[in-house]
Symmetry: C2
Subunit: 194 residues, 2 copies
Amino acid sequence: MDSREKILEVARDIFQKKGKSGTRMQEIADAAGVNKALLHYYFKNKDGLFKEVFVDLIRKMLLPLKQQMFQKNLPLEDRIQNFVDGYINSLKENPLLLTFILGELSMNNMPFVPPPEIGEGIIQLGVELKEDEEFKHIDPFQLATTIIGSCVFPFIARPMLIGLGLEKSTTFEEFLEERKKILPQIILSGIKIK
Amino acid sequence: MDSREKILEVARDIFQKKGKSGTRMQEIADAAGVNKALLHYYFKNKDGLFKEVFVDLIRKMLLPLKQQMFQKNLPLEDRIQNFVDGYINSLKENPLLLTFILGELSMNNMPFVPPPEIGEGIIQLGVELKEDEEFKHIDPFQLATTIIGSCVFPFIARPMLIGLGLEKSTTFEEFLEERKKILPQIILSGIKIK
DNA sequence: GTCTATAATGGGATAGAC
DNA sequence: GTCTATCCCATTATAGAC
Protein backbone atom coordinates (compact mmCIF):
# COMPACT_ATOMS: atom_id res chain seq x y z
CA MET A 1 0.00 0.00 0.00
CA ASP A 2 1.35 3.46 -0.76
CA SER A 3 2.24 5.79 2.07
CA ARG A 4 -0.51 8.29 1.53
CA GLU A 5 -3.14 5.62 1.85
CA LYS A 6 -1.43 4.10 4.84
CA ILE A 7 -1.35 7.45 6.62
CA LEU A 8 -5.04 8.01 5.99
CA GLU A 9 -5.83 4.56 7.26
CA VAL A 10 -4.12 4.93 10.60
CA ALA A 11 -5.23 8.56 10.91
CA ARG A 12 -8.83 7.43 10.67
CA ASP A 13 -8.31 5.10 13.59
CA ILE A 14 -6.41 7.48 15.80
CA PHE A 15 -8.64 10.49 15.15
CA GLN A 16 -11.66 8.40 16.00
CA LYS A 17 -10.13 7.21 19.24
CA LYS A 18 -8.65 10.49 20.47
CA GLY A 19 -10.44 13.24 18.62
CA LYS A 20 -8.86 15.99 16.59
CA SER A 21 -7.13 17.95 19.30
CA GLY A 22 -6.21 14.84 21.26
CA THR A 23 -4.31 13.39 18.32
CA ARG A 24 -0.60 14.00 17.73
CA MET A 25 0.87 14.11 14.26
CA GLN A 26 3.84 12.17 15.63
CA GLU A 27 1.57 9.34 16.74
CA ILE A 28 0.05 9.04 13.30
CA ALA A 29 3.48 9.05 11.69
CA ASP A 30 4.71 6.32 14.01
CA ALA A 31 1.66 4.16 13.48
CA ALA A 32 1.97 4.56 9.73
CA GLY A 33 5.67 3.77 9.85
CA VAL A 34 6.67 7.00 8.16
CA ASN A 35 8.18 10.28 9.20
CA LYS A 36 6.18 13.21 10.47
CA ALA A 37 7.38 15.40 7.65
CA LEU A 38 5.66 13.14 5.20
CA LEU A 39 2.29 13.94 6.67
CA HIS A 40 2.92 17.58 5.87
CA TYR A 41 4.12 16.69 2.43
CA TYR A 42 0.84 14.99 1.58
CA PHE A 43 -1.67 16.97 3.60
CA LYS A 44 -0.02 20.32 4.21
CA ASN A 45 -0.94 20.46 7.91
CA LYS A 46 -2.93 18.79 10.64
CA ASP A 47 -6.10 20.49 9.59
CA GLY A 48 -5.70 19.27 6.02
CA LEU A 49 -5.22 15.71 7.15
CA PHE A 50 -8.10 15.92 9.55
CA LYS A 51 -10.50 17.34 6.97
CA GLU A 52 -9.74 14.59 4.53
CA VAL A 53 -10.29 11.96 7.19
CA PHE A 54 -13.42 13.66 8.40
CA VAL A 55 -15.29 13.89 5.12
CA ASP A 56 -14.29 10.33 4.49
CA LEU A 57 -15.78 9.19 7.76
CA ILE A 58 -18.91 11.26 7.22
CA ARG A 59 -19.43 9.44 3.96
CA LYS A 60 -18.86 6.12 5.65
CA MET A 61 -21.47 6.98 8.24
CA LEU A 62 -24.06 8.14 5.74
CA LEU A 63 -23.72 5.21 3.41
CA PRO A 64 -25.87 2.74 5.35
CA LEU A 65 -28.43 5.49 5.95
CA LYS A 66 -28.76 5.98 2.23
CA GLN A 67 -28.75 2.32 1.39
CA GLN A 68 -31.07 1.01 4.00
CA MET A 69 -33.58 3.64 4.81
CA PHE A 70 -35.32 4.13 1.57
CA GLN A 71 -35.52 1.05 -0.53
CA LYS A 72 -38.65 1.73 -2.45
CA ASN A 73 -41.12 -1.00 -3.33
CA LEU A 74 -40.97 -2.52 0.10
CA PRO A 75 -43.67 -2.16 2.73
CA LEU A 76 -42.71 0.10 5.61
CA GLU A 77 -42.51 -2.83 8.00
CA ASP A 78 -39.78 -4.49 6.03
CA ARG A 79 -37.90 -1.28 5.47
CA ILE A 80 -37.79 -0.52 9.18
CA GLN A 81 -36.70 -4.06 9.95
CA ASN A 82 -34.02 -3.89 7.27
CA PHE A 83 -32.86 -0.53 8.39
CA VAL A 84 -32.44 -1.49 12.04
CA ASP A 85 -30.67 -4.67 11.04
CA GLY A 86 -28.39 -3.07 8.55
CA TYR A 87 -27.57 0.00 10.57
CA ILE A 88 -26.74 -1.89 13.75
CA ASN A 89 -24.53 -4.23 11.75
CA SER A 90 -22.75 -1.34 10.18
CA LEU A 91 -22.27 0.36 13.55
CA LYS A 92 -20.81 -2.85 14.95
CA GLU A 93 -18.04 -2.54 12.42
CA ASN A 94 -17.40 1.08 13.31
CA PRO A 95 -18.32 1.42 16.95
CA LEU A 96 -16.49 4.71 17.50
CA LEU A 97 -17.62 6.40 14.32
CA LEU A 98 -20.74 8.15 15.55
CA THR A 99 -19.34 9.32 18.87
CA PHE A 100 -16.43 10.79 17.00
CA ILE A 101 -18.41 12.55 14.30
CA LEU A 102 -21.03 13.97 16.60
CA GLY A 103 -18.38 15.09 19.05
CA GLU A 104 -16.35 16.87 16.40
CA LEU A 105 -19.42 18.44 14.84
CA SER A 106 -20.29 19.86 18.20
CA MET A 107 -16.82 21.05 19.25
CA ASN A 108 -15.31 22.48 16.17
CA ASN A 109 -18.23 23.31 14.07
CA MET A 110 -17.29 21.21 11.15
CA PRO A 111 -19.34 21.47 7.99
CA PHE A 112 -21.98 18.81 7.63
CA VAL A 113 -23.57 18.69 4.23
CA PRO A 114 -25.20 15.35 3.62
CA PRO A 115 -26.43 14.39 0.16
CA PRO A 116 -29.95 15.78 -0.22
CA GLU A 117 -31.49 12.36 -0.88
CA ILE A 118 -31.43 11.52 2.79
CA GLY A 119 -33.31 14.58 3.95
CA GLU A 120 -35.70 14.13 1.04
CA GLY A 121 -36.16 10.50 1.96
CA ILE A 122 -37.25 11.52 5.43
CA ILE A 123 -39.80 13.95 4.03
CA GLN A 124 -41.01 11.23 1.69
CA LEU A 125 -41.43 8.94 4.66
CA GLY A 126 -43.87 11.49 6.05
CA VAL A 127 -45.90 11.44 2.86
CA GLU A 128 -46.15 7.69 2.95
CA LEU A 129 -47.26 7.72 6.57
CA LYS A 130 -50.03 10.16 5.66
CA GLU A 131 -51.20 8.04 2.77
CA ASP A 132 -51.24 4.76 4.60
CA GLU A 133 -54.37 4.05 6.61
CA GLU A 134 -52.51 1.62 8.76
CA PHE A 135 -50.20 4.18 10.37
CA LYS A 136 -50.50 7.23 12.55
CA HIS A 137 -49.65 10.59 11.04
CA ILE A 138 -46.33 11.14 12.68
CA ASP A 139 -43.84 13.85 11.81
CA PRO A 140 -41.22 11.91 9.87
CA PHE A 141 -38.34 13.67 11.62
CA GLN A 142 -39.71 12.51 14.93
CA LEU A 143 -39.90 9.00 13.63
CA ALA A 144 -36.48 9.07 12.04
CA THR A 145 -34.93 10.50 15.18
CA THR A 146 -36.51 7.75 17.22
CA ILE A 147 -35.39 4.96 14.94
CA ILE A 148 -31.90 6.23 14.31
CA GLY A 149 -31.40 7.32 17.90
CA SER A 150 -32.47 3.95 19.20
CA CYS A 151 -30.00 2.16 16.96
CA VAL A 152 -27.16 4.52 17.58
CA PHE A 153 -27.49 5.22 21.26
CA PRO A 154 -26.08 1.91 22.53
CA PHE A 155 -22.86 2.62 20.68
CA ILE A 156 -22.53 6.22 21.72
CA ALA A 157 -23.45 5.50 25.30
CA ARG A 158 -21.77 2.15 25.63
CA PRO A 159 -19.48 3.05 28.55
CA MET A 160 -22.41 4.58 30.36
CA LEU A 161 -24.70 1.61 29.78
CA ILE A 162 -22.03 -0.78 30.95
CA GLY A 163 -21.58 1.33 34.06
CA LEU A 164 -25.30 1.03 34.65
CA GLY A 165 -25.07 -2.74 34.60
CA LEU A 166 -25.87 -3.68 31.03
CA GLU A 167 -23.21 -6.37 30.86
CA LYS A 168 -24.17 -8.00 34.14
CA SER A 169 -26.75 -10.22 32.51
CA THR A 170 -25.62 -10.33 28.87
CA THR A 171 -22.74 -9.34 26.65
CA PHE A 172 -22.93 -6.20 24.58
CA GLU A 173 -22.91 -8.38 21.50
CA GLU A 174 -25.98 -10.32 22.64
CA PHE A 175 -27.66 -7.10 23.62
CA LEU A 176 -27.28 -5.86 20.06
CA GLU A 177 -28.61 -9.05 18.53
CA GLU A 178 -31.63 -8.88 20.79
CA ARG A 179 -32.02 -5.25 19.86
CA LYS A 180 -32.28 -6.03 16.18
CA LYS A 181 -35.31 -8.18 16.94
CA ILE A 182 -37.05 -6.11 19.53
CA LEU A 183 -36.61 -2.59 18.24
CA PRO A 184 -38.61 -2.96 15.02
CA GLN A 185 -41.42 -4.49 17.05
CA ILE A 186 -41.51 -1.58 19.47
CA ILE A 187 -41.35 1.00 16.73
CA LEU A 188 -43.95 -0.66 14.54
CA SER A 189 -46.46 -1.21 17.34
CA GLY A 190 -45.72 2.37 18.29
CA ILE A 191 -46.74 3.88 14.99
CA LYS A 192 -49.53 1.57 13.88
CA ILE A 193 -53.08 2.77 14.31
CA LYS A 194 -54.10 -0.25 16.37
CA MET B 1 -18.16 34.24 44.63
CA ASP B 2 -14.77 32.91 45.63
CA SER B 3 -12.18 32.25 42.97
CA ARG B 4 -12.17 28.50 43.24
CA GLU B 5 -15.88 28.33 42.57
CA LYS B 6 -15.61 30.83 39.75
CA ILE B 7 -12.89 28.80 38.07
CA LEU B 8 -14.95 25.64 38.27
CA GLU B 9 -17.95 27.41 36.84
CA VAL B 10 -16.22 28.68 33.73
CA ALA B 11 -14.21 25.48 33.38
CA ARG B 12 -17.45 23.53 33.17
CA ASP B 13 -18.57 25.66 30.26
CA ILE B 14 -15.33 25.64 28.35
CA PHE B 15 -14.60 21.96 28.82
CA GLN B 16 -18.07 21.12 27.56
CA LYS B 17 -17.64 23.28 24.48
CA LYS B 18 -14.10 22.28 23.53
CA GLY B 19 -13.41 18.99 25.23
CA LYS B 20 -10.52 18.20 27.53
CA SER B 21 -7.66 18.37 25.08
CA GLY B 22 -9.18 21.25 23.15
CA THR B 23 -9.31 23.44 26.23
CA ARG B 24 -6.48 25.79 27.25
CA MET B 25 -5.75 26.59 30.85
CA GLN B 26 -5.16 30.18 29.80
CA GLU B 27 -8.64 30.45 28.39
CA ILE B 28 -10.16 29.28 31.62
CA ALA B 29 -8.06 31.69 33.61
CA ASP B 30 -9.09 34.59 31.39
CA ALA B 31 -12.75 33.71 31.54
CA ALA B 32 -12.59 33.41 35.30
CA GLY B 33 -10.76 36.71 35.59
CA VAL B 34 -7.83 35.21 37.45
CA ASN B 35 -4.28 34.24 36.70
CA LYS B 36 -3.30 30.93 35.25
CA ALA B 37 -1.10 30.14 38.21
CA LEU B 38 -4.16 30.17 40.41
CA LEU B 39 -5.62 27.21 38.56
CA HIS B 40 -2.55 25.22 39.50
CA TYR B 41 -2.74 26.46 43.04
CA TYR B 42 -6.24 25.09 43.47
CA PHE B 43 -6.22 22.06 41.21
CA LYS B 44 -2.57 21.08 40.87
CA ASN B 45 -2.73 20.55 37.10
CA LYS B 46 -5.04 20.39 34.13
CA ASP B 47 -5.96 16.82 34.86
CA GLY B 48 -6.93 17.67 38.41
CA LEU B 49 -9.18 20.48 37.28
CA PHE B 50 -10.71 18.37 34.58
CA LYS B 51 -11.45 15.47 36.89
CA GLU B 52 -13.24 17.69 39.35
CA VAL B 53 -15.32 19.23 36.59
CA PHE B 54 -16.05 15.86 35.07
CA VAL B 55 -17.39 14.11 38.16
CA ASP B 56 -19.43 17.20 38.78
CA LEU B 57 -20.97 17.05 35.34
CA ILE B 58 -21.56 13.33 35.61
CA ARG B 59 -23.57 13.98 38.73
CA LYS B 60 -25.50 16.72 36.99
CA MET B 61 -26.35 14.38 34.16
CA LEU B 62 -27.46 11.56 36.41
CA LEU B 63 -29.63 13.67 38.66
CA PRO B 64 -32.70 13.82 36.41
CA LEU B 65 -32.29 10.12 35.65
CA LYS B 66 -32.52 9.37 39.34
CA GLN B 67 -35.31 11.79 40.02
CA GLN B 68 -37.57 11.07 37.14
CA MET B 69 -37.20 7.50 36.18
CA PHE B 70 -38.34 5.72 39.26
CA GLN B 71 -40.98 7.54 41.14
CA LYS B 72 -42.76 4.68 42.78
CA ASN B 73 -46.51 4.61 43.26
CA LEU B 74 -47.18 5.90 39.80
CA PRO B 75 -48.43 3.77 36.93
CA LEU B 76 -45.83 3.11 34.26
CA GLU B 77 -47.64 5.33 31.77
CA ASP B 78 -47.26 8.37 33.95
CA ARG B 79 -43.69 7.61 34.83
CA ILE B 80 -42.67 7.36 31.20
CA GLN B 81 -44.51 10.55 30.38
CA ASN B 82 -42.88 12.31 33.34
CA PHE B 83 -39.49 10.97 32.48
CA VAL B 84 -39.55 12.10 28.87
CA ASP B 85 -40.85 15.48 29.89
CA GLY B 86 -38.40 15.99 32.69
CA TYR B 87 -35.39 14.65 30.88
CA ILE B 88 -35.90 16.67 27.73
CA ASN B 89 -36.39 19.78 29.86
CA SER B 90 -33.22 19.09 31.72
CA LEU B 91 -31.29 18.49 28.51
CA LYS B 92 -32.57 21.77 27.14
CA GLU B 93 -30.77 23.49 29.96
CA ASN B 94 -27.56 21.60 29.30
CA PRO B 95 -27.55 20.87 25.61
CA LEU B 96 -23.84 20.06 25.40
CA LEU B 97 -23.65 17.94 28.51
CA LEU B 98 -24.29 14.52 27.02
CA THR B 99 -22.17 14.94 23.93
CA PHE B 100 -19.34 16.04 26.14
CA ILE B 101 -19.61 13.24 28.69
CA LEU B 102 -20.05 10.47 26.19
CA GLY B 103 -17.23 11.80 24.07
CA GLU B 104 -14.81 12.02 26.96
CA LEU B 105 -15.83 8.63 28.28
CA SER B 106 -15.01 7.17 24.92
CA MET B 107 -11.75 9.05 24.28
CA ASN B 108 -9.98 9.05 27.56
CA ASN B 109 -11.47 6.20 29.40
CA MET B 110 -12.72 8.14 32.30
CA PRO B 111 -14.19 6.23 35.22
CA PHE B 112 -17.95 6.07 35.21
CA VAL B 113 -19.44 4.78 38.41
CA PRO B 114 -23.06 5.80 38.73
CA PRO B 115 -24.93 5.36 41.98
CA PRO B 116 -26.30 1.81 42.07
CA GLU B 117 -29.91 2.93 42.43
CA ILE B 118 -30.13 3.71 38.76
CA GLY B 119 -29.00 0.31 37.55
CA GLU B 120 -31.22 -1.29 40.16
CA GLY B 121 -34.12 0.85 39.06
CA ILE B 122 -33.75 -0.47 35.54
CA ILE B 123 -33.78 -4.07 36.78
CA GLN B 124 -36.82 -3.24 38.87
CA LEU B 125 -38.51 -1.89 35.77
CA GLY B 126 -38.09 -5.33 34.24
CA VAL B 127 -39.79 -6.97 37.20
CA GLU B 128 -42.73 -4.63 36.91
CA LEU B 129 -43.08 -5.32 33.22
CA LYS B 130 -43.20 -9.04 33.94
CA GLU B 131 -45.85 -8.63 36.59
CA ASP B 132 -48.11 -6.38 34.63
CA GLU B 133 -50.51 -8.13 32.27
CA GLU B 134 -50.86 -5.02 30.22
CA PHE B 135 -47.28 -4.93 28.97
CA LYS B 136 -44.99 -7.10 26.92
CA HIS B 137 -42.09 -8.79 28.66
CA ILE B 138 -39.31 -6.63 27.39
CA ASP B 139 -35.74 -6.63 28.64
CA PRO B 140 -35.63 -3.47 30.74
CA PHE B 141 -32.25 -2.41 29.38
CA GLN B 142 -33.69 -2.53 25.88
CA LEU B 143 -36.55 -0.37 26.99
CA ALA B 144 -34.38 2.05 28.94
CA THR B 145 -31.98 2.38 26.03
CA THR B 146 -34.85 3.14 23.71
CA ILE B 147 -36.41 5.75 25.97
CA ILE B 148 -33.22 7.46 27.02
CA GLY B 149 -31.72 7.26 23.57
CA SER B 150 -34.79 8.78 21.98
CA CYS B 151 -34.71 11.71 24.38
CA VAL B 152 -31.02 12.27 24.18
CA PHE B 153 -30.35 11.73 20.51
CA PRO B 154 -31.75 15.03 19.23
CA PHE B 155 -29.27 16.88 21.43
CA ILE B 156 -26.27 14.76 20.61
CA ALA B 157 -27.04 14.71 16.92
CA ARG B 158 -28.39 18.21 16.60
CA PRO B 159 -25.91 19.43 13.97
CA MET B 160 -26.54 16.30 11.94
CA LEU B 161 -30.31 16.58 12.17
CA ILE B 162 -30.19 20.20 11.16
CA GLY B 163 -28.02 19.25 8.21
CA LEU B 164 -30.66 16.72 7.22
CA GLY B 165 -33.29 19.42 7.14
CA LEU B 166 -34.88 19.29 10.56
CA GLU B 167 -35.14 23.05 10.86
CA LYS B 168 -36.65 23.57 7.44
CA SER B 169 -40.17 23.07 8.70
CA THR B 170 -39.87 23.84 12.41
CA THR B 171 -37.46 25.21 14.98
CA PHE B 172 -35.45 22.88 17.16
CA GLU B 173 -37.37 24.20 20.13
CA GLU B 174 -40.72 23.28 18.60
CA PHE B 175 -39.37 19.93 17.59
CA LEU B 176 -38.56 19.23 21.22
CA GLU B 177 -41.96 20.29 22.45
CA GLU B 178 -43.60 18.05 19.91
CA ARG B 179 -41.25 15.30 20.97
CA LYS B 180 -42.39 15.45 24.56
CA LYS B 181 -45.90 14.69 23.39
CA ILE B 182 -45.26 12.11 20.74
CA LEU B 183 -42.48 10.03 22.23
CA PRO B 184 -44.40 8.65 25.20
CA GLN B 185 -47.20 7.68 22.82
CA ILE B 186 -44.86 5.78 20.55
CA ILE B 187 -43.09 4.05 23.42
CA LEU B 188 -46.29 3.12 25.22
CA SER B 189 -48.07 1.76 22.19
CA GLY B 190 -44.83 -0.05 21.49
CA ILE B 191 -44.72 -1.97 24.74
CA LYS B 192 -48.40 -2.53 25.45
CA ILE B 193 -49.83 -5.95 24.71
CA LYS B 194 -52.50 -4.63 22.39
C1' DG C 1 -4.73 33.74 47.83
C1' DT C 2 -3.19 35.98 43.98
C1' DC C 3 0.09 37.79 40.94
C1' DT C 4 4.45 38.23 37.58
C1' DA C 5 7.89 36.12 35.41
C1' DT C 6 10.01 32.29 33.65
C1' DA C 7 11.10 27.63 33.08
C1' DA C 8 10.21 23.35 30.65
C1' DT C 9 8.21 20.78 27.32
C1' DG C 10 5.19 19.56 23.75
C1' DG C 11 4.01 19.49 19.24
C1' DG C 12 3.06 21.56 14.60
C1' DA C 13 5.66 23.01 10.91
C1' DT C 14 9.64 23.69 7.51
C1' DA C 15 14.37 23.48 5.21
C1' DG C 16 17.21 20.79 2.86
C1' DA C 17 19.74 16.33 1.96
C1' DC C 18 19.07 12.04 -0.35
C1' DG D 1 8.81 10.49 -1.98
C1' DT D 2 11.00 10.07 2.20
C1' DC D 3 14.11 11.23 5.76
C1' DT D 4 16.95 14.05 9.47
C1' DA D 5 17.43 17.96 11.79
C1' DT D 6 15.71 21.95 13.50
C1' DC D 7 12.78 25.75 14.33
C1' DC D 8 9.48 28.09 16.94
C1' DC D 9 5.32 28.98 18.96
C1' DA D 10 1.77 27.37 22.15
C1' DT D 11 0.83 25.58 26.46
C1' DT D 12 1.55 23.46 30.79
C1' DA D 13 3.73 24.07 34.95
C1' DT D 14 6.53 26.20 38.74
C1' DA D 15 9.29 29.62 41.55
C1' DG D 16 8.97 33.36 44.17
C1' DA D 17 7.28 38.21 45.31
C1' DC D 18 3.38 40.47 47.43
